[in-house]
């Protein structure tokens, strides 16, 4: 469509080596990425505790391998509610609810726990949190009218938040069979 100018052509021939290197480098890089992409597109993560691989897609099937939370596995095949994955040398079936497409994130602590954390270190810090403002004073709009018609109980909520169960112990508690 547009004729490559003579000068460019000349410099192409002169600098053929450089250009070859240029494209070789580009090609190598792209294929490197490509190969890793096909691997990563199938990457999934173990969401929770107590995930166990099974030989067959059945709850009665033999358990073969334990996977810990956050483990990166490759998904190979899916069958109904079952998902076949590969982790290192071991392969097996999991229930699809046990995996997530996204890496496992750290637990997000709520504000109330942050306040406790600060208090525990000896400093009495009163955070002017949103919930405190709403719960204690009640949020009012510019005309002084209370915005929400609903009652709130933040004391009960904080009571609830003070008693979280330990995850590992709860998994053991749940695994109990009569």
């Amino acid at each position: 469509m547009i004729v490559i100018p003579q000068k460019q052509l000349d410099s192409f021939l002169q600098g053929k080596k450089i250009i070859l290197q240029f494209f070789a480098a580009l090609f190598l890089l792209l294929s490197f990425f490509l190969s890793s992409v096909f691997a990563t597109e199938n990457t999934v993560y173990i969401k929770g505790l107590g995930a166990v691989l099974r030989e067959q897609p059945s709850i009665q099937s033999k358990k073969t391998f334990k996977l810990s939370r956050g483990t990166k596995v490759l998904s190979i095949e899916s069958k109904g509610i079952w998902q076949k994955v590969e982790s290192g040398v071991s392969q097996g079936w999991l229930l699809r609810g046990q995996i997530s497409k996204f890496p496992v994130k750290r637990k997000t602590l709520i504000l109330a726990q942050k306040i406790q954390l600060l208090s525990a270190s000896g400093r009495r810090v009163r955070l002017r949190t949103f919930s405190a403002v709403v719960g204690v004073k009640g949020l009012v709009d510019s005309e002084g009218k209370k915005i929400s018609p609903y009652k709130t109980d933040y004391t009960a909520l904080e009571w609830l938040e003070q008693l979280p169960s330990n995850e590992e112990n709860s998994v053991i508690f749940l695994s109990f069979t009569e």
Binding site: R106, I110, L163
Partner: protein
Amino acid sequence: MAHFNKYLWLHIFIFSFGFAVSGQAQEFRLRAHHIFWKNQEAGTDREIDFGRGVAAKILGKYPLLRDERKHKYISQIGTGITAQLGRPELRYYFGILETDEINAFAVPGGYIFVTMGALKLMRNEAQLAGVLAHELAHVGQKHIVRKLKLQSTDSSLTSGIAQVLGSSTLASKIALERLNDLAFKMLMEEGLSKEDEEDADQKALEMLITLGYDPHSYLNYLQSLKPHLAQGGAEVLSKTHPTIEFRYRSLKEFISRHQLDNIQGKKNEKRFKKIMAKS
């Protein structure tokens, strides 16, 4: 230049041709982070902040049962489920509401409530696990946050809830409070969509199977709700959920589709009854 002009028309021709024949959205242009954040909607801490407000309203309507033994039991069962199948970034809290109404609530951010009325109706631990799992599925799939987002007038990806939740100005706090009310109303009056409830039922069943519980107990629990719904003992539940017939049929269909008929599991009836009997 004349050379180029000739081709310019060709270009315009080809471009217009492409325009004429195609009408699909360029979804493929969305990059990984767009898809990821679209899925995440608001950040987790914002979701928790938001959920706390709704949870406080539920506790404002129904008193919290401060029975440490019962609470600990529910919390351990719930946490046992979430540790394995919940969203790993959340810490879940489980509470019992002191009311004879039969219902359970899932609030964004990981607050799960079940009423005393519902517990009294349950026969075993598998049923409790099933009800909790149903609520956990709502949190896991962010049904409420998504529905709120659809209801908000501005539908662009970055505005709406994420914006309201992210800001700290008084105006946005007022907006947040209104969103909170909307969510509360949704739980008490409107309910989620039929599809969301269906989805949560199926997820609950899958969770029960994964955890080794008897999945059929959950179906039995749904059946046992029927007479109470007719008598008006679960006013909110009947307003906010599809009919039991629909849910039962849909689950049966799911079971046969995935050949889950023969799956058995534990019920832990004794442990459940022992804890529920004492007060």
